[in-house]
Symmetry: C2
Subunit: 237 residues, 2 copies
DNA sequence: GATTGACTCGTACGCTGTACGATTAGATTG
DNA sequence: CAATCTAATCGTACAGCGTACGAGTCAATC
């Protein structure tokens, strides 16, 4: 009998980030591993949402017993944390050292961030946990570097990063929680029409109705970047 | 025996908004009511967090049997939705019709929004549910009206509202999930110092460390408002 | 007095996360 | 070779959860 390794290695920050790519066995039941567990958890979350992830079901999908998971993982919470970070791996081109347009670079970084999360809508609702996995930190570092190279002073970097982060996270959560499906839009329409008398301005703005979410996100992002770069020529680009 | 009224009235959008104020009985066990249930749920959430809210405990606090709650409420989810909206009631002065500085008004509205949620940190983690309660809608309407009176064209209103909403929600969730306590900050410090080699720019920005959250929020908000009001004089104010 | 409808609640069920300890298989050691 | 150790798996069991169901209470109405 061995002492569960959990406490010995539950130092999660040290554990190398889990990749979703590398797990592709042809058939049979390959041995359990953290990578397989996380990859399957992401599958399950994609298919059934946050409430659909149960330890027994996860184990079933892996062809394993439920309790076998606990050798690799401390508890269910950790599965969530790992799944969230796994989904946030950045697969973009490594930054070059040429100046390039920093603004394009920042926009691309942030749009990709949002898109990655919207591909797995459950990830937005997990954001409230204080999990700074390596992939999140990596994205933050890339963003910081971009802004820094753009000439943002170290003293202002904090504000700039947080503003952009906040905007992206808010937009993503909002987008993920309001429907991606047409049914949801219909429901929203239904909800709002009855109340237009109490909320006339909301109705005038056509809030929530036939919105171009991606375009709205982009426009707002540009506004924010305009504000953040007072020196630049803040055209609408 | 009566048919549960649930389905008949679970038309939540019609139900008048629940107030936290009005529930103050000296002692004894006043009869159950939706107001009391929601108010007590908020208490319990404040004290124990999201995971601390169990139907049995909620009922205990109310001096009632667990199943009695289900006469007033469809399920636990609805308790969450109602608690979230209850906490978002706006207690500010009703808007006057004088012009006033629209920018100050908007800033005040958004700061109050954030502050209201930070007073109940669990509320941030509930944001991912698509619950547009009356109090949220009311705040959105106020914000819309302010922007509209400031001269924002109806066509741009949608973007403006969502940008501000996204920013505020992102900031609030981030602030609520990263620590309010000193222990949390110490932990963050601990986490980051080991990794400074991998994330040098993050460290230079002193991200997450001894940050003035309120000030950062305010500054970023100003940047966003600068971007949103291209016509105005976009001073640092 | 009988009936009704609003409201309360005890019991029970299915499901959850996971503690505990037995079991196995492979490597290491004498 | 046998003995021992370590990593990994999993069956069983338990406490706690949300809530379905139906019986119970009480005031208002006929």
């Amino acid at each position: 009998m061995a002492a569960k390794r959990s406490s010995a290695q539950s130092n999660r920050s040290q554990r190398k980030s889990v990749s979703l790519q590398s797990v592709q066995e042809p058939h049979g039941d390959p041995p359990l591993s953290l990578d397989r567990i996380v990859a399957t958890a992401v599958e399950l979350l994609d298919a059934e949402g946050v409430d659909g992830l149960k330890m027994r079901r996860l184990a079933d999908r892996l062809g394993a017993g439920a309790m076998s998971l606990y050798w690799h993982v401390d508890n269910k919470e950790e599965v969530f944390d790992l799944a969230l970070d796994a989904v946030l791996e950045y697969r973009g081109a490594p930054q070059v050292d040429e100046p390039e347009d920093w603004r394009d670079e920042a926009v691309h970084l942030l749009q990709d961030w949002r898109a990655s999360m919207l591909r797995h809508p459950w990830s937005a609702s997990l954001l409230s946990r204080r999990a700074l996995g390596p992939n999140i930190l990596n994205r933050l570092e890339l963003l910081s570097k971009t802004l820094s190279r753009a000439g943002v002073a170290d003293a202002d970097l904090n504000v700039a990063i947080w503003s952009l982060w906040n905007y992206v996270m808010g937009a993503t959560i909002t987008r993920a929680s309001f429907g991606l499906s047409d049914d949801d839009r219909a429901a929203a329409q239904q909800r709002l029409t009855g109340l237009s008398e109490h909320y006339p301005t909301i109705e005038r703005a056509r809030l929530l109705l036939d919105s171009d979410w991606d375009g709205t996100f982009r426009k707002g992002l540009d506004f924010l970047l305009d504000g953040l770069s007072p020196g630049q020529n803040s055209g609408s680009r």
